[in-house]
C-alpha cells in the first residue's frame, strides 16, 4: 500500500462505512461488520493492506484501553465492591478450568505438557473488545449475564500480569533468560499489554521489592491524581468553555495514565480502568464519557479491522479441516466451561447463554501471550501461526454465534419454565428515571421537590461553577451541554422516563426538544418556558401543550391571590379565583395558538380572549347565575325566595 496516510485513511474509513451498516442491517452488530471490512481490505481479498495491518492493530488496541477507562467511569467503586465475589470467584474459575481443559486437549493432540499449559492459559483469555462492545451495543451491560461477563473479563485483565510472570518458569532456565531479553523488542505488534511485567519497563533493572514499590506507587498515584489533580484541572478547563480543549484533556488523562502504567509494567487497560473508577464519582463523568466515546469506537473499529485483515487464509487454506476443528474445539471447550460456571452461580438459561456465548472466543490477550510463548521457545512457529489463526477465527465467529443465540435460541426461552431465579443483587443499574437539564433556580427547585419526595434525578448543567457548588450540597450534578445527544445518552436518557427541560433560554430548549424527539421519543418531556411567546415556539415543535410550563404564571397568580387576601377577600374564594384564572389562562392560550401565525387574526383573537376572560371573571365576581358559579351563595336563593316572604 503506497498511497500514504490519506489513501490508507480512505481505505479504512470506506471499508467501515460500507461494511458496518450492512452488518447492522443484517442484525449482526458492528463488530462483525468491522471484522468483515478487515477481511475484505486485507491481503487475502482485495489486498489494500498488507503486513502493516498488524501495526494498525498495535495502535488500535489503544481502543481497549480507552474502553476500560469508560467502563471504569460507568462502574463507580461502590459497584465494583459489590461485584468483588463474582470477579474473584467466577473469574478465577473461568481462567483455571478453561486453561486446564484446553491444556489437556492440546496434550492429546501431541504437545509437550509445558507448552500445553502455556497455550491453555493463552486460550482461556476472552476478547474484552468484542464481548463488552456487543454487550454495550445491545444495552445488556446491566443484566446479570452482562455483569458476570464483565467480572470475568476484568479478572482476565488482572490475570495477564501473573501469567506473563509465570510463563518464563515453564521454559527451561537458559531459554527463559534469552527470552526475557528478547521480550522487550519482540512483542510482535500486538498489544498494549505485551510490555507488562517485562524488560521493556523503566523499572525492569530494579530489584524486585523496588519494582513492587513502584507498582504500588503508580496505583496510588493514579488514585491521588484522579481525586486531587485531574478534577480541579477539569474544572479550570471547563470554565474556558472550549469543547475541544476538554476533549484534549480527556485524551491526555487516558494516554498519560497508560504511559505511566507501561513504565511500571502494569497493564495500561487496568490503569485507565482504575482512573475511570476514581473519576466515576466526579461531576465530569458524563462529559468525559461522551467526549471519549467516539475515539474508543473508532479505535476499536480499527482494531477489529486489523483482526480481520490478519487472518492468515494461506495457513487456513493449507489445513482447513484441522484449523476448523481446532477452532470449533476451542470454542466448544470454552463454551462448556463458561456454561457450567454460569449454572453453578445460578444464572438463568437466557443470561447464561448470553454470558457463555459472549465469552467463548479467544481474545486479543492471546495474541500477546502466544507471541511471548513463541519467544520463550515453548512453541514452534507453525503451531503459533495456527493458534493465532484459530484465535482470529474464533473472534470472527463470536458475533455469528451471538446472532444465532438471539435469533434461534433466545426466542424459545421466553416461556422456559425451568429458568432459574435471577440473582438480583448484582444488577448494577442506577440510572435515574428523571433527568433535569439546566439546574438554575428553576431546575434546582424542581430537583429539591423531587428529592424531598424520594425521587432522585440526574442533573445536567453547563455552568461548571454552579455544578461545583451544587455538588458540595450533595446534588448529583454533571457538567455538560445537555442538548447534545451523546451527553444525554451517557446520562442515561435511554433508560429514563422523564426529561425536565429547565433551561433559561429558548434556543437551548428548542435544541433539546428536537434532540429528544429524534433520539429518545419514549421520554416524557416537561418544559419550562420563560413566557407566552416562548411557549408558542415550543408548541410549534409538536410538544403537548399540557407539558409546557410558563415560569412566572403560577407565582404571579399566587401573589395576586395574596393581594386579594390583604384586601380582605375570603381566602377560599381568592384561592378558587386563582385556580380558575390559571385554567382560563392556559385554555385561552392554546385556543389562540393555531391562529397566531396570522398576525391580524392573532390580534383579534387575543382581544377576543381578553374580552372573554374579563367577562368570565366579572361574571364570577357578580355570581351571575347564568355564568360562573354560585355555590354556597345564599344571596341568589334569598333573591328568589326571600323578597316576597320577608318579614
Amino acid at each position: 500500500m503506497t498511497g500514504g496516510f490519506l489513501a490508507d485513511a480512505v481505505v479504512y474509513l470506506a471499508a467501515a462505512v460500507v461494511c458496518v451498516p450492512i452488518a447492522k442491517r443484517l442484525g449482526m452488530g458492528s463488530v462483525l461488520g468491522y471484522l468483515l471490512a478487515g477481511i475484505v481490505i486485507g491481503p487475502f481479498a482485495l489486498g489494500f493492506i498488507g503486513e502493516e495491518g498488524k501495526d494498525i492493530m498495535h495502535f488500535a488496541e489503544f481502543g481497549v484501553v480507552m474502553m476500560l477507562f469508560l467502563v471504569g467511569l460507568e462502574l463507580e467503586p461502590a459497584k465494583l465492591w459489590r461485584l468483588r465475589r463474582t470477579i474473584l470467584g467466577v473469574g478465577s474459575a473461568q481462567v483455571l478450568i478453561t486453561a486446564a481443559a484446553c491444556a489437556a486437549a492440546v496434550v492429546a493432540i501431541g504437545l509437550d505438557w509445558r507448552a500445553a499449559v502455556a497455550v491453555g492459559l493463552a486460550l482461556s483469555m476472552s476478547s474484552t473488545a468484542i464481548a463488552l462492545q456487543s454487550l454495550k451495543e445491545k444495552g445488556l451491560m446491566g443484566t446479570t449475564g452482562g455483569q458476570s461477563s464483565f467480572a470475568v473479563l476484568l479478572f482476565q485483565d488482572i490475570a495477564v500480569i501473573p501469567i506473563l510472570a509465570l510463563l518464563p518458569l515453564l521454559a527451561t532456565a537458559h531459554l527463559a533468560a534469552a527470552a526475557a531479553s528478547a521480550a522487550a523488542g519482540a512483542d510482535g505488534g500486538y498489544g498494549s499489554q505485551s510490555d507488562a511485567g517485562h524488560g521493556a519497563t523503566l523499572i525492569g533493572h530494579l530489584p524486585g521489592w523496588m519494582q513492587t514499590l513502584a507498582v504500588l506507587g503508580a496505583v496510588a498515584a493514579v488514585i491521588v491524581l484522579g481525586r486531587f489533580v485531574i478534577v480541579p484541572i477539569l474544572r479550570v478547563i471547563a470554565r474556558t468553555r472550549l469543547r475541544e480543549l476538554f476533549t484534549a484533556t480527556a485524551l491526555l488523562i487516558v494516554v498519560g495514565i497508560a504511559l505511566l502504567m507501561q513504565m511500571v509494567g502494569l497493564s495500561p487497560a487496568l490503569g485507565t480502568f482504575l482512573a475511570g473508577l476514581v473519576l466515576a464519582t466526579s461531576e465530569f463523568k458524563h462529559e468525559l464519557e461522551s467526549d471519549l466515546d467516539p475515539f474508543k469506537g473508532l479505535l476499536l473499529g480499527l482494531f477489529f479491522m486489523g483482526v480481520g485483515a490478519s487472518i492468515d487464509f494461506h495457513l487456513i487454506g493449507a489445513a482447513p479441516l484441522r484449523i476448523a476443528l481446532m477452532t470449533v474445539g476451542v470454542i466448544a471447550i470454552k463454551l462448556a466451561v463458561l456454561y457450567g460456571i454460569g449454572r453453578a452461580v445460578r444464572l438463568s438459561m437466557d443470561q447464561n447463554l448470553l454470558f457463555s456465548i459472549g465469552l467463548a472466543q479467544v481474545g486479543e490477550f492471546a495474541f500477546v501471550l502466544l507471541a511471548f510463548i513463541a519467544q520463550l521457545g515453548l512453541l514452534d512457529p507453525a503451531w503459533t501461526g495456527t493458534l493465532m489463526a484459530v484465535t482470529a477465527l474464533s473472534m470472527a465467529l463470536t458475533p455469528l454465534l451471538q446472532l444465532l443465540n438471539e435469533r434461534l435460541i433466545q426466542p424459545h426461552l421466553g416461556s422456559c419454565p425451568q429458568a432459574v431465579e435471577r440473582d438480583d443483587d448484582e444488577i448494577v443499574d442506577d440510572h435515574n428515571q428523571v433527568l433535569i437539564a439546566g439546574f438554575s433556580h428553576f431546575g434546582s427547585t424542581v430537583g429539591r421537590f423531587l428529592r424531598a419526595n424520594g425521587v432522585d434525578a440526574t442533573l445536567l448543567d453547563h455552568d461548571s461553577d454552579r455544578v461545583d457548588l451544587l455538588r458540595k450540597f450533595g446534588f448529583k450534578v454533571y457538567y455538560g451541554d445537555a442538548t447534545r445527544f451523546d451527553l444525554l445518552q451517557a446520562a442515561g436518557a435511554g433508560n429514563a422516563r422523564i426529561l425536565i427541560c429547565a433551561f433559561d433560554d429558548l434556543e437551548s430548549t428548542q435544541k433539546l426538544v428536537e434532540t429528544v424527539h429524534k433520539n429518545f421519543p419514549h421520554l416524557k418531556l416537561l418544559i419550562r418556558t420563560r413566557h407566552r411567546a416562548d411557549a408558542y415556539e415550543i408548541l410549534d415543535l409538536g410538544v403537548d401543550p399540557a407539558s409546557i410550563y410558563r415560569q412566572h404564571l403560577d407565582t404571579s397568580v399566587r401573589l395576586g391571590v395574596d393581594a386579594l387576601l390583604h384586601l380582605g377577600h375570603r381566602a377560599y374564594t381568592a384561592h378558587r379565583a386563582g385556580q380558575s384564572f390559571l385554567r382560563q389562562d392556559e385554555e385561552a392560550m392554546w385556543k389562540i395558538a393555531p391562529t397566531r401565525h396570522d398576525l391580524q387574526q392573532y390580534i383579534s383573537s387575543v382581544r377576543e380572549q381578553i374580552a372573554l376572560q374579563e367577562e368570565l371573571f366579572k361574571a364570577d365576581r357578580q355570581s351571575d347565575p347564568a355564568r360562573g358559579d354560585h355555590a354556597w351563595d345564599s344571596q341568589v336563593l334569598r333573591d328568589v325566595l326571600g323578597r316576597p316572604a320577608a318579614g
Binding site: Y572, A631, W632, S634, L637
Partner: protein, 204 residues
C-alpha cells in the same frame, strides 16, 4: 371556667348574611377561641398537628357552619378525615378527645317546621346529623344537641340579632361555667335548653 373552641366553616361567608350576623355576636372574652378554617386552609391542606393541639387545649368544641344538602360544607368532612386520626382520636390509644363536649351551630335556609317527621324534609335535624353524632361519640366525646338558626332566607336583621344574642349567651355561659354541658342534654336543640329566643329588642 371552660375553654371553648369555635371552629367556623363557611366556603363563602361574604355571601352569607345570617352567618356574618351571628359572628358579630361572638363574645370577645378570654377562654373563647375562634378559628375560621376556610381562611386557614383554602387549599384543603389541613395542618393536622396544629388542629390537634388546638383541640387538646380546649374543653368544649363548637362546629359552626351552614347546613348544605343535609350535610356539612366539604372542608368540615376533610377536617374530620384528617384530624380525627386513628390512634389519636379513636382506636387503640385514641383517647385524646375523651370527655370533651361538642355541638354544632347550624344555619339552614328552610324553616324549623320543615325539619320534622311530617315536615317538608321528612326527617328531624337530629336524624340528619346522625353520622356526625356517631363520629364524635366514637371519639368518646359528649354529644350535645345543636344550636340552630332556621329560616335564614327569610329572616329580618332584627330576628338575626335575636338569634345572635342567644348564641352570645350560650358561649359566654359555657366559658364562665354558668352553663355546664351535662345540664344541656334532653332537648332537641340548645336554643330550647336556653329557654328560647330573648324578647324582641333585648340585647346582651
Amino acid at each position: 371556667m371552660a375553654r371553648v373552641l369555635v371552629l367556623f366553616a363557611h366556603p363563602r361567608l361574604e355571601k352569607s348574611r345570617a352567618n356574618r350576623s351571628l359572628l358579630r355576636h361572638l363574645p370577645q372574652i378570654d377562654g373563647l377561641t375562634f378559628r375560621d378554617v376556610y381562611e386557614h386552609y383554602p387549599d384543603f391542606n389541613i395542618a393536622v398537628a396544629a388542629e390537634q393541639a388546638l383541640l387538646l387545649a380546649h374543653d368544649i368544641i363548637v362546629w359552626h357552619h351552614p347546613l348544605y344538602w343535609y350535610n356539612t360544607p366539604p372542608l368540615v368532612k376533610q377536617w374530620i378525615d384528617m384530624v380525627l386520626s386513628f390512634g389519636w382520636a379513636y382506636g387503640p390509644g385514641g383517647d385524646a378527645l375523651r370527655g370533651k363536649a361538642i355541638f354544632h351551630v347550624l344555619t339552614t335556609g328552610g324553616a324549623e317546621a320543615a325539619y320534622q317527621l311530617d315536615g317538608f324534609h321528612g326527617s328531624t335535624l337530629g336524624q340528619f346529623l346522625l353520622p356526625l353524632e356517631r363520629t364524635m361519640r366514637l371519639c368518646g366525646m359528649d354529644w350535645l344537641p345543636p344550636f340552630t338558626v332556621h329560616g335564614t332566607h327569610v329572616m329580618t336583621e332584627a330576628e338575626l340579632d335575636r338569634h345572635g344574642a342567644l348564641y352570645h349567651r350560650l358561649l359566654k355561659g359555657l366559658v364562665a361555667g354558668s352553663l355546664r354541658p351535662d345540664e344541656l342534654h334532653g332537648h332537641a336543640t340548645l336554643n330550647a335548653a336556653l329557654g328560647g329566643l330573648p324578647l324582641e329588642g333585648a340585647r346582651e
